[in-house]
Symmetry: C2
Subunit: 624 residues, 2 copies
């Protein structure tokens, strides 16, 4: 017989019963699946019982209600608890709860936004809190709505550096609308955490980073109640609630016992466990919807005319410069575009947007993991985030980019200073693996413009492309070769040199496109006609055009890229040709030696990707 | 006329002059190059003057002296200062100093171990300190030598989460032999840092993380002297020296001036700057060699007989289990092998080594960036580090892996739980991009065994392979198909099904190898002979065998991998075939949909990479 819990009247007795029910359901779901993390769920049950039993303001019928609170399980493996919360809220049935981890169930091993009330996928630790920072930034500075961001964290994940990026940024940005609930259950996967139950250490660290820290008994509902109330009073400081808990709490043979991480309660022991927890399985919590509030404070999509910056053919401009100018133009035509940067905005040129629209620019300092997380968080709040840094430093955030794909996040990333063409700074600053890295992201789009007008068009195209879109920009200036009126579509290419006598096809992108045209012009003088394709869309790649060109040139194809040989443009071309082309004669020019310092021209030549190398390769194929 | 500075007698006056010389040379080198970071170098000049002028114990003639201190510039862009230090130590000439950033110069824009006195490449911020933690771990627990690890840090990079992983681990592991010198010059690249000159904030954070923190005027040599002396007295606590400094210190038009980051002093202003700094350019510091000490406490290479674990054909064992057993065997035969893990040792099975050789196992908790950094640091001290976590979580450390290649580090990485075959945990725990990620690392080796005996052989091969070696292991048990006596070489492959009538070649690896043999056996029954190649070495790949097989089967090749389509086995095969094979008919089976939860078999089938899908693809080619 269902018993209703109302947030306005609930007290310790109700929260205790609810906590027990959440434990019961965490065990039932994981034991039913034969896998999962019940003990990690049980330690946080009281924390969630009080949260949903009094404080959480959420409309389960309207997950897109902009006034909803946000609940993020940074400790994503406590998914049984999260799903038990959804059941207790009446959002899912008990029957669905028991589909946990089954094939085709939306209740996956770790939460994903396949479930409407889940903002982002978690399961890789240390990500939920920095993403929560992004949502809270949106709440405080963009939406200007009073929703609260609640993030359940594990103590093991406090070892992840990204958590401390979140700590730093949340206090710097005065996120009083953010509360991190630390389920300090002492036990990690294989052993005790570095800090065990020394809650004072976590509290001291949080305070040193500018947070409000509250230490409580995580199984005392009255203390939890007091902590949440105190957290909600903060306007300019985020709160860390350090809750001393026991893993497997509530069942004697599980509670604070080593070696129980990630183990479902064996079938034979389930009833014993449930008996200890008491007969709770039919409580329903009437989670209050948020107050109507002001609604969203922005209009998505174009709100003004987009006037792209333009350049004259023959001008010289770096594609990173064009990125900056276009981002600014986009910011003027769209209220939903926001920009983030990793303290290199005068290098990536996002500074142009920052100067013009400071209220929509977020300096993320040297913290790329937090930057990408914040972009994901802002996309949860329907902004169109453009995040930039040196392409090489986006690799710092690869696990976050990987998880963003599982989150189905729509984020735009721009990486500048690609390749050896950056020159004297040397290899630490050069991205030579970023095309491989970004191609291997599910559903991603990978673009590399070669001139300023093309960049402008592609940046505009990026804005509404779903998923993770990556734009690779260059440090040096390149000649403008495309008229400002020319259009460029994602998935397209441009053939910039072509004739009926073409003997070889050269596929290039970015800086190498200019080397390729130089080479083609030189070869033309010695009577060899070369087709040059600007593959500015590396993923998806314009396979049709490349195949047609390859066929027209007898299968003779040179691909040249400022990137390692693996996983980049060359292999993208091969994948597009494979199985559809007889008789391929392929030359791949890529960076194979570790570069040092030097001028752009010296390094490109040493890497074998400059015009004269393209000439040699094309000649070899043409004559061979 | 050269003036000698002796560490035993130097005092404030000498250190001041030396600091000025380091500033002079930082300007001369970067202005000569037309690029570089003089102001970032000038702020730390007094810190280095006192360090080299009294405390640093280093034999520049014998960089491999195990008793040498270690000096790491975590703020790698202050390379002009580092090179000026080498000149002042007499290690390089003034002439060489002025080759800074030139093509072919070993004095690159950011330091690399091309220079004998540089341990590791820096330039991507937030890495030098965690690597220093690795070196200090080696010093305290492996070498048991008294050398000190000095790490120069910038204040901008304190925003990187990886720094806080280092803070946590250094105190947990009681690294009194580590000192972080924070050059708190207030100004980042584009603006003031989040904490400006609030040295108390950095100190409070360091103390909250268990460090000793000392705040000083970074331009007062006597205070610097006192701080270094105090740091050296610590036995069990690392020290953070928070030095208040001014960017561009010493030159009035540069000192603490916005907008001067990464800008060389323009030619016209160089003399003005040098005039302000005074006429210093001929000081030579007699940096004392370290005391002889005990020498290295281990023997590199095999010290005992390596008895690999073996399995019987037909047994079932997970390749991750074989990794664990072999690592233990390796640990027994080699004193130089050490293991590190990211708090998942009962999943990766590194726990077997940990139980047997606890003195050589380092638990790195949930901090993959620190784990990889520590491996790099231990390789600096000539250990053979095997670091493991879930393959998906190694993506957290991608920027560190990238930089490790520039560092020419020899590290072995093992990533478990690869692909959809892990089952119910779902996509957050699955590595589906790791082959692309690791192939695109300069000089890397990428291996994926399919059975336990093969794993054992490959783990043994990994130990001395130079560079970054990656082993991908599986969660589920797989059948043992290779006899324990069989050998496997890096760069090789095994043809497991072959006949003179082969109509199609199937190339597989890891879990898909077993699907491929199932498929081949099924196809055999319907009269289609299929050649199956186990490409356990994905990089370098056995192109010869694959090409021969492709030719023998009329160019009909199926590649099947538990990985996204981009950058993995399929593209590695294409790259090995391209340009050398006419008439390729290629089918690529890879994971193209985002997986959910489910059993291993359900997920592999839904992903299109199970036996029946291989059958379909092979049949299509055979009949086509």
């Amino acid at each position: 017989m269902t018993q209703q819990i109302n947030q306005e009247t609930a007290g310790v007795a109700q929260w205790h019963s609810l906590g027990q029910q959440l434990r019961v359901d965490s065990i039932r779901s994981s034991s039913g699946a034969g896998s999962g993390h019940p003990t990690s769920s049980m330690s946080a049950a009281d924390l969630l019982a009080v949260l949903m039993g009094k404080y959480l303001r959420y409309d389960f019928d309207e997950p897109e209600n902009p006034n909803n609170d946000h609940l993020i399980f940074s400790k994503g493996h406590a998914s049984p608890l999260l799903y038990s919360v959804y059941k207790a809220a009446g959002a899912i049935s008990d029957e669905e709860l028991l589909t946990f981890r089954k094939f085709h169930s939306r209740l996956q091993g770790h939460p994903t936004p396949q479930i409407p009330w889940v903002d982002v996928a978690t399961g890789s630790l240390g990500q939920g809190l920095p993403i929560g920072v992004g949502v809270a930034l949106a709440g405080k500075y963009l939406d200007k709505l009073p929703y609260h961001v609640w993030v359940l964290c594990g103590d093991s994940e406090m070892a992840e550096g990204s958590m401390w990026e979140a700590f730093q940024h949340a206090s710097y940005y005065k996120l009083g609308n953010l509360t991190a609930i630390l389920d300090m259950n002492r036990l990690g996967q294989t052993r005790e955490t570095m800090n065990g139950w020394h809650g004072d250490r976590y509290a001291a660290r949080a305070e040193a980073f500018g947070w409000n820290a509250i230490q409580i008994d995580g199984h005392a509902p009255d203390e939890i109640d007091g902590a949440y109330a105190e957290a909600l009073e903060e306007t300019d400081r985020p709160t860390l609630i350090v809750a001393r808990t026991k893993k497997g709490r509530g069942v004697s043979f599980l509670e604070d016992v080593d070696g129980m991480h990630g183990k479902p309660v064996p079938g034979d022991d389930v009833q014993k466990a449930l008996d200890e927890l008491g007969d709770h399985d039919d409580l329903l919590v009437n989670v209050r919807k948020p107050d109507p509030g002001q609604g969203e404070d922005f209009t998505p999509g174009l709100t003004g005319e987009l006037e792209l910056p333009t350049w004259e053919v023959g001008d010289e401009e770096a594609t990173r410069g064009a990125y900056g100018a276009t981002l600014k133009a986009l910011g003027g035509a769209r209220e939903d575009v926001v920009a983030l940067d990793g303290e290199v905005s005068n290098s990536t040129k996002s500074e142009e947007f920052a100067e013009e629209y400071p209220d929509r620019y977020f300096e993320m300092f040297i913290a790329e993991q937090q930057m990408v997380s914040a972009a994901v968080g802002m996309s949860v709040r329907h902004r169109v985030p453009f995040a930039s840094s040196f392409a090489a430093f986006l690799s710092r955030a690869y696990d976050f980019i990987r998880m963003a794909a599982i989150s189905r996040a729509n984020i735009r990333l721009s990486g500048s200073h690609a390749g050896v063409s950056i020159g004297e700074d040397g290899p630490s600053q050069m991205a030579l693996e970023d095309l491989a890295m970004m191609r291997a992201v599910h559903g991603s789009t990978v673009l590399q413009p070669c001139d300023a007008n093309q960049t402008a068009r592609l940046v505009a195209e990026m804005a509404d492309k779903d998923g993770i879109v990556y734009l690779r920009t260059l440090r040096p200036k390149t000649p403008v070769i495309y008229d400002a009126s020319e259009g460029f579509l994602i998935g397209g290419s441009k053939t910039v040199r072509s004739s009926d006598e073409d003997a070889v096809t050269v596929v290039a992108s970015g800086i190498t496109l200019h080397e390729a045209t130089k080479a083609a012009d030189e070869l033309q003088e010695s009577g060899i006609a070369v087709r040059v394709i600007d593959a500015y869309s590396i993923k998806p790649i314009d396979g049709d055009t490349i195949r047609d060109a390859a066929r027209a040139t007898g299968g003779k194809v040179v691909v040249v890229e400022d990137h390692w040989p693996e996983g980049g443009l060359g292999e993208a071309v091969l994948s597009s040709l494979s199985g559809r082309l007889d008789d391929l004669h392929f030359e791949h020019l890529a960076v194979e030696i570790m570069p040092g310092s030097g001028s752009s021209a010296e390094l490109m030549d040493a890497a074998g990707i400059s015009a004269n190398h393209i000439v040699d390769a094309a000649r070899k194929l043409a004559n061979g």
